[in-house]
């Protein structure tokens, strides 16, 4: 009985996996197709692969630096969100103060404004500061919207670490700050890693702020993609090549930290 349930479960999961992956596989195939194969009315699964799309977009169209721009922006904003957000989350997990829950909720509200509406004011604001067209502007922008995620996820994680650990560190001779940096942060590493992955994905994939705030030469891959929709047809092969290159690093990265990802997302709340 239980064995047949298990087979059924695996069957369902396999189907889901196929649905989840087929579009990506198709894009992977498309990135090796010529335009005629791409536009063929019969789906072509077997074809003579061409490797022209990759050099066409990354060398001829000079999209290679965009990969590095994406990396710098995503790494920078992820590091900053964690560095700024985790201490705040720690305070929310440990300290009681008047209006704490309100401030906590306030952090979430920062996520609610549609980027479309904040984008223009933010652009004008950064222009006043002289920050537009620099990578800093978009790193800051991504940090602000990732902050809510960090604060919300890490609060639960910090709450799960017994308070006595901080206290022990303080009794052992650490300052409160020192206890946080030297003891709690290493203990929370899996949670931090999980949060960082999500921040990284969000920042890596973000389009609007990056488009508006960053200079042409600093634009990330996402901003480059619409440039392949030309009046003479969308360059599907090149779009696919960019999509593959843009996704592969996160898939590999996620796989490497996957153990921490699931473990890291275990919230203290569940343990009661």
């Amino acid at each position: 009985m239980s064995k047949s349930w298990k087979i059924l479960a695996f069957g369902i999961l396999a189907c889901v996996l196929v649905i989840a992956l087929t579009p990506y596989v198709w894009i992977l195939l498309t990135s090796f197709k010529g335009r005629l194969d791409i536009l063929s009315p019969q789906p072509t699964w077997f074809f003579t692969p061409t490797f022209a799309n990759y050099p066409a977009v990354f060398i001829d169209k000079e999209y290679l630096p965009l990969v590095f721009n994406s990396l710098i922006i995503a790494c920078g904003s992820t590091a900053l969100s964690i560095m700024i957000g985790a201490p705040a989350a720690y305070v929310f997990a440990r300290t009681d103060f008047a209006g704490k829950e309100d401030l906590f909720f306030f952090f979430l509200t920062t996520r609610m404004a549609p980027p479309i509406s904040i984008a223009v004011p933010l652009f004008l604001f950064f222009t006043t500061l002289g920050l537009t067209d620099t990578i800093y502007a978009v790193v800051i922008a991504h940090t602000t919207f990732n902050l809510s995620l960090v604060v919300w996820m890490m609060r639960g994680f910090f709450a799960e670490i017994p308070k006595e650990i901080d206290e022990a560190a303080m009794m052992d001779g650490r300052s409160k700050l020192g206890a946080f940096v030297r003891v709690i942060v290493p203990l929370a590493a899996p949670g931090l890693a999980a949060t960082a992955v999500l921040c990284f994905i969000m920042s890596w994939n973000e389009f609007l702020y990056a488009f508006i705030l960053v200079a042409f030469e600093g634009r990330p891959l996402t901003v480059g993609i619409p440039g392949l929709i030309t009046p003479h047809g969308t360059l599907w092969g090149q779009v696919a090549a960019v999509a593959v290159v843009a996704t592969l690093p996160i898939i590999v990265f996620t796989f490497l930290v996957q153990k921490h990802l699931v473990r890291g997302l275990t919230f203290g709340a569940v343990k009661g």
Partner: protein
């Protein structure tokens, strides 16, 4: 400056004459040279932004030569069309002056001019140091195109970067097939050939619609996208309709977008959906290009600058050598195509305006224009069209003819808003949410509200 004399001269001068005159001038003047004019700006970098169009890519290839001669570096940012517009708007309105010149759809010129964002080009053209005496836009450009694309309210603000029109694409091989001709004549009572009026156009579309063979009569760009509006304008104009009752794009006049002609044009336009592939409401230029390249469509109305990719480039097209091109079919208002141009403009906040002017002026020269045109551009210079190399292109004739019948459209500040309203309403009509009259009445009402007192509705709405 553009007195009667120059206008008269323009009328009589052929492109050939103008070119030879320019050659003579070089010999005589000699005093002006690009190198000398550019000397004060040596070492500066000028930056521009535009849609990732083939002529812009051609410009990118040409720019190093300019740099070599002048020491002025040209940096070109390429984005998708609507992205370009957003970037430019933000730059101009924040007055930070990142771009030394911009390439913009002429539809936006009014917005820029009335807000004081762009410089009149006159001040550079009258400067002896900057003006190349050989460059005579009054003679060397299609005057209609120049005035539509780069002028506003009687003043020149730039030069056309490309002048795009739309015309009829058809499958010459199908239309000249004797068996098809025979069958067509039997059914419709006249000879099969490139459609000359809209009735023929629909007959041909109907005749060739054979879904079981994967062939459709036509394809319309029905996605909720600006492409829809551009395409629809060809129908509107040739049916004798218009959006505003005006002579030039900078005027604000009564709204006539819900005229009987407009309604007829719109209903005719939708009737073509029957001969379009099933996904026609999801098409913009991208998809119809792909269909044409796959040989799945018999005829459609499409951009002249996209022709290269379907008629010449064998890497992407299966119908090279099978294509024919003609001006849009005849309607109640004649054969009228819409024209969309991109213009060189110099922002007020730009930091290197003179260097930018020098580059633009250089780009307008015959050689550069020819190079751009051969790489998929659409030049505003008749002499370039006249060149043997261009005449070899299968679409040169239709393209030139189309330029002649191009009709201006509003360039007033609210033009984008008008476009947005029309795209939505026509899309609503195509999606069966409304009738043509309802959609156009609503458009007229909203456009009139946007434009204010200068634009009453000529065809009142209840």
């Amino acid at each position: 400056m553009y007195g009667n004399g120059s206008r008269l001269r323009m009328l009589i001068a052929t492109s050939l004459l103008a070119t030879s005159a320019a050659l003579v001038l070089v010999g005589e003047a000699g005093a002006w040279s690009l190198e000398e004019a550019a000397a004060p700006y040596k070492g500066t970098t000028i930056r521009t932004i535009g849609e990732a169009l083939p002529p812009l890519e051609a410009m990118k290839k040409l720019a190093p030569e300019f740099e070599k001669r002048t020491g002025i570096t040209v940096e070109i940012e390429m984005y998708e069309a609507s992205e370009t517009a957003s970037k430019v708007m933000l730059d101009l309105n924040s007055k930070r002056g990142r771009y030394d010149f911009i390439l913009q759809q002429h539809r936006n010129v009014g917005k820029f001019v009335t807000n004081g964002h762009v410089e009149p080009i006159e001040q550079f053209m009258t400067s002896a140091e900057l003006r190349d005496p050989e460059f005579k836009p009054e003679e060397q450009l299609y005057q209609g195109l120049w005035k539509e694309i780069s002028w506003y309210d009687g003043k020149a603000y730039g030069f056309p970067f490309t002048a795009l029109t739309m015309y009829e694409w058809y499958r010459a091989d199908l239309l000249s097939d004797p068996k098809e001709q025979e069958g067509f004549k039997a059914k419709y009572g006249y000879d099969l050939g490139p459609a000359q009026d809209w009735k023929q156009y629909r007959d041909i579309a109907e005749w060739f619609t054979r879904p079981d063979q994967g062939l459709y009569g036509t394809a319309i760009q029905g996605k909720r996208h600006e492409a829809l509006w551009y395409e629809w304008l060809n129908f509107l104009y040739s049916f004798g309709g218009d959006m505003l009752e005006v002579k030039t794009g900078s005027e604000c006049g009564p709204v006539i977008v819900n005229s009987p002609q407009a309604i007829a044009a719109t209903e005719y336009y939708k009737s073509l959906m029957a001969f379009s592939p099933p996904d026609t409401l999801n098409y913009f230029w991208d998809d119809v290009m792909a269909l044409m390249q796959q040989g799945k469509v018999a005829e459609l109305i499409m951009w002249n600058d996209a022709t290269y990719a379907v008629a010449v480039d064998e890497n992407v097209s299966t119908v090279v050598g099978k294509m024919g091109f003609d001006i849009v079919p005849q309607g109640e208002g004649g054969k009228v195509a819409q024209v969309e141009g991109w213009s060189y403009l110099i922002p007020t906040a730009a930091k290197n305006k003179e260097a930018a002017y020098l580059f633009i002026q250089w780009m307008m020269e015959y050689d550069q224009q020819l190079e751009q045109h051969l790489n998929g551009g659409a030049t505003p210079r008749p002499d370039v069209y006249a060149s043997a190399e261009v005449q070899k292109l299968p679409y040169a004739k239709a393209s030139m003819a189309s330029n002649e019948v191009a009709k201006p459209k509003p360039t007033i500040p609210q033009s984008s808003e008008m476009t947005d309203i029309l795209v939505r309403e026509i899309s609503s009509y195509l999606a069966d949410e409304k009738t043509a009259k309802e959609a156009l009445d609503e458009s007229a009402k909203e456009i009139s509200a946007v434009l204010g007192s200068c634009a009453p509705m000529k065809y009142p709405v209840q």
